[in-house]
Amino acid sequence: MTPQNQSIDRFYTLVLIIISIWALFFIWPYISSMVMILVFAFLFTTILLPGVDALERKIKSRLFSTFLIMGGVLILLFGFLSGFASGLFQQSSDFSQRLAQENYVNELNDLYQRTISSIPGAPNIDDFEKPQLTKKVQVFFSSFMQQILSAAKSGMNFIFFTAMILVFSFILLNEYHHFRRALVSMIPNKYFEVGLRIIHNIEKQMSKYLTGQFLAASSVAVLSFLGLLILNLYGANITLIFFISIIAGLSNLIPMVGPLVGMVPAVLISIMNNLGSEAALSHLMFNIIPSPFFVFDIIFMFIIVQQIDNNLITPILVGESVGLHPMIVMIALFIGGIVLGPLGMLFAIPTAGIIKVIAQEIIFLVRYAHLL
């Protein structure tokens, strides 16, 4: 190819890339849901693939192995969701009933006044403000329940989304090796070995990241469970600790924001259960710091769990699985958050890891281009 032809070739390639990006920008709103479903299905597949492969070697049937693994996951998922939903519903209805009692409202007002007056520098509330507080709490919980109901209505979308992810995951798990081979067969001979190298490195990166994250999330869940159990021994009266611990572990997958999300249900349930208890209201953390309803104890416990996770568990289990500089991680999280919100933050680090692998392979390719 002459230099002039090469320049023309490059020009048309550039025009083609620009047109493709422009077209993608316009069709993105129509395909974004599908892309998200596929991304989730791929992640789900990456997590479950080693299990299906191992089971296939034992029972010699890919389809049956996929059925068993997916069935097990579904049973666990529905067991968790139904258990948590029924527990939370029971908790909320109990609390609403208690809140409706008149004497309880008076007690609540009294406790509120004492709480406020215990805070140094807080203004005294007069009797005029008391009914407003009760009203505020009742309005808050009724609106909270309404929000839950509206969330249930939009839950149909979630169910559809989840069902699609599960169906795609099943297909991907069952046909993964065939899809992979089909993908590899599309690579031109010239780039065959390098292409396979990139695919293998991306798989390795994803697998390492997901395994590390899964182990770190499990550790956070176990530590949170133990922490809440210890708090209960000191009279915190926190229920649903099994579910709270799992939520804390799962929310830990979203860096920086997740750990905060994990402690919210624990704090809410502690307030719900202990409201009305004078002992809980006047509780002192380490016998020094006022911690009404064990709120600061819970926050402190979760901070300790996070510190153990960040400084001990994650460096050991996740290590340098992605090998990204903390600054790049922050930028990736920021961009992910802007583009897709919390979901974007969840995918930001693995995506940045994949981009890093591709960039490394491009550098490698450029270095050996003359030998391909």
């Binding site: 492969d53 070697r57 067969s185 001979n189 010239k190 070995e193 396979l196 293998h200 030998l371 391909l372």
Partner: protein
Amino acid sequence: MKALWENLFKNWNRQESLTKTVLKQIPVFHELSDRQIHEIENLCHKRRYKQGETVFKRLAPGEGMFIILSGAIEIFTEDNNDNKKTLAILNNGEFFGELSLLDSDTRSATAIATEDSDLLAFLRPDLQSFSKRSPQTGNKILFNLAKVMAARLRKTSEQVSKNSAELV
């Protein structure tokens, strides 16, 4: 009824695939069971090379070995003055590039298809992940590979001593 019967037992009289037959002949896969050979077959990638097409060039990073299903491959080196020295011309059932299964070093020679060829690529990343999943089979393959290397080393040593004897 006959159709149902044939459908149920369609695999009974099925011929073994060419890939499987060729794989069984390769010393690297000796003493592997049918099931293990089937697993290896699933790991391999079939590639078609046209006459004159380069499979890999000398000094390019190597990722694995190639097995010839059909066709012919020329292995050669070139010195700084572009003088070509053919090392071997390989045909059906033969293999090359097996050193790259062990390390990620560069290729020691160039391989070019001298006619339209169907090759089977068995790459290092696939062997590594396979060895993690099936350590026993992985060990068997690596042991066979070591045997192939030992045989080649012995042959080279004999050649070197023969050449030195001739020089003396």
